[in-house]
């Protein structure tokens, strides 16, 4: 397992399939969308279970509240729209009507990060992890590929309480096999490494694995950790990597402020302060472009990661 790129699946597609299989197993599952079901892939569920699908129209705030009511009424609501709207437009409804009363609502937002692509900065969410992570009671999950998405959705359904699951628009390499078992709050260590460790989330896990292979050719042994759950953070895995490698690089398709990099920095600075670099969007908005060009433009490619690793190793004492 690890870095074996055989097929490419968008995590939003995996989400749509996961919903259908969940809907077959549990008749308390209901799905809400705000006029983006074709894009978020909740349309797959709507097609099979029209009576359990509610299109709320372009009204994200109302959608969050409606989901809260369905949860009180004993249903298991999955709520979807683009990440920027789910977490931005409706942030206070998520806080007040879902997290404050600690309701069992699953928010699964697609079109996260800059790989939304051509739609541009208005639609590219680079703040969603930060603004969801800060809300008490909220669990934040960012799957790396199709199989991990499927498992994350199943785990979120089993877990009682609010969850935010971030999926993406673009196709990403499949990293995990059928034997993989995702657990909320548990990091997956691809390899431990010796010289530094990359802690990555979402689509950046594949880039991290590529960076690892690039560095291997230069004789640098880099560990790769998939931090699919950003909250609660697997602090043990972070600290173990810091102790083992003495240098950490985080990688996320999100602002370097408040997301995975922020969470890891918070954990490190309190216990095992080691040289660290945060790879992500550097406090700026997105812009139009195709996926590959954007990853390069924002310094999110495997090559950028490899450079950051070498820089951070230099800072080791």
């Amino acid at each position: 397992m690890g870095g074996n790129v055989t097929e490419k699946v968008a995590t939003r597609d995996a989400y749509g399939d996961a919903l259908v299989s969940l809907g077959k197993k549990r008749n308390d599952v209901v799905v809400l969308d705000a006029d983006l079901s074709g894009s978020t892939k909740t349309s797959k569920f709507a097609k099979v279970f029209p009576d359990r699908f509610f299109n709320i129209g372009i009204a994200e705030q109302d959608m969050m509240g409606t989901a809260a009511g369905l949860a009180i009424g004993g249903k298991l609501p999955f709520v979807s729209t683009f990440a920027v709207f789910a977490t931005g437009r409706a942030w206070e409804q998520v806080r007040q009507s879902i997290c404050y009363p600690n309701l069992n609502v699953k928010i699964v937002a697609s079109h996260s990060g800059v790989t939304v692509g051509e739609d541009g900065g208005s639609h590219q969410s680079v703040e969603d992890i930060a603004v969801m992570r800060v809300i008490p009671h909220m669990t934040v999950i960012v799957p790396a590929d199709g199989p991990e998405t499927l498992q994350a959705i199943e785990a979120a359904a089993e877990y009682k309480g609010p969850c935010y699951v971030r999926v993406g628009r673009s196709k990403v390499p499949t990293l995990f096999g059928a034997d993989y078992k995702f657990k909320i709050g548990k990091a997956h260590v691809f390899n431990e490494g010796k010289d530094a460790a990359i802690i990555a989330t979402g689509i950046m896990v594949a880039e991290a694995l590529r960076a690892r292979d690039l560095l291997k050719a230069e004789g640098i042994d880099v560990g790769v950790i998939d931090m699919a759950t950003i909250k609660p953070l697997d602090t043990d895995a972070v600290l173990a990597a810091a102790k083992r490698c003495g240098a950490i690089v985080t990688a996320e398709e999100h602002s370097i402020i408040g997301g995975l990099g922020g969470a890891v920095a918070e954990a490190l600075v309190e216990s095992v302060p080691v040289p660290m670099a945060r790879i992500g969007i550097k406090d700026t908005f997105g812009t139009s472009g195709d996926q590959e060009a954007l990853l390069k433009h924002y310094g999110l490619s495997a090559g950028d990661l490899a450079t950051a690793v070498k820089e951070v190793i230099k800072k080791k004492r």
Binding site: G57, G65, T66, G69, L70, P101, L103
Partner: protein, 287 residues
């Protein structure tokens, strides 16, 4: 007002007892607010007759089993009127009367705004305005899926209608034909900064709700006969949600508070309480 075709199921005796209950609820609200020294007096008193009719005439619930599946749901979307809800819950048997005295104190279940995590009988935490009707819609959809006959009641403020989410929810309720929802507006005409029509006008309220596809009744929100009749009538409406616009007086119950905007978020002094108690000829709850 009560319309000619409304069937009056309530008896004179019931009305008398409901009015007496409302009087006692007002006394308890004022006592707890004076004891606490902070909280929302005006909007609790304006909603008292409505909440009394809901809890002691209309709704199905079991105080010993707040999660009873057959219960009707009440959502206080104007969460700042928590004192009237807490008092109704005490009178209904969800909590002991003595607990009312703990309002807003550290460790109390009676939070400044209702908190469903700790308070039995509170369906959902409210306080940030504009969100309760959406939650009511979700509950109503859940009941429809379950083919159960539970009804959902939501109480909104008139100032609260300035929140855009209310109108999103208004569309959703009509779109999904949620005839198991009955919403009420406590139309007391005042908000923190002054008269609603001066701050940001919401009239014509009845026309707006009708245009959004709701059945709308417009009543005197302190006329117990009208409130009970409207609640009964709402149950007969099919294929669309019902809105009852309750014309009320902020601070209703004593001349000390009535129509006074400054009592939106302030509590009575001991002297003001004494005057009000004489008008309500009351007895004490919190000591």
């Amino acid at each position: 007002m009560i319309q000619e075709d409304w069937f009056m199921a309530v008896t004179e005796e019931e009305l008398k007892s409901l009015r007496e209950k409302a009087r006692r609820v007002r006394i308890d609200i004022l006592k707890m607010l004076t004891e606490c020294g902070s909280g929302h007096t005006g909007g609790s008193l304006s909603a008292t007759d409505i909440v009394t009719a809901l809890y002691f005439y209309k709704m199905k619930y079991d105080p010993k089993r707040p999660d009873w599946k057959e219960r009707d749901n009440f959502i206080l979307s104007k969460g700042h009127a928590a004192p009237v809800l807490y008092t109704a819950l005490a009178h209904a048997g969800f909590i002991e009367h003595a607990e009312l005295c703990t309002l807003r104190k550290l460790g109390s279940r009676l939070q400044g705004h209702p908190d469903s995590k700790c308070m039995p009988g509170v369906e959902i935490s409210t306080g940030s305005l504009g969100q309760g009707l959406s939650v009511a819609n979700g509950l109503a959809l859940a009941h429809k899926l379950d083919k159960s006959s539970n009804r959902v009641y939501a109480l909104l403020g008139d100032g609260e209608l300035q929140e855009g989410q209310i109108w999103e929810a208004a569309m959703t309720a009509a779109h999904y034909k949620l005839d198991n929802i009955c919403a009420l507006v406590d139309n007391n005409g005042l908000q923190i900064d002054g008269p609603v029509e001066k701050v940001m006008g919401v009239e014509p309220i009845t026309d707006k709700w009708r245009a959004f596809g709701w059945e709308v009744f417009d009543i005197d929100g302190h006329d117990m006969a009208a409130i009970t009749a409207a609640l009964d009538k709402a149950e007969t409406v099919k294929g669309k949600p019902t809105m009852i616009i309750c014309r009320t007086v902020k601070g209703k119950g004593s001349k000390v508070f009535e129509g006074k905007v400054e009592f939106h978020g302030t509590t009575p002094s001991k002297e003001e309480l004494d005057i009000a108690m004489k008008e309500l000829s009351g007895e004490t709850v919190c000591k």
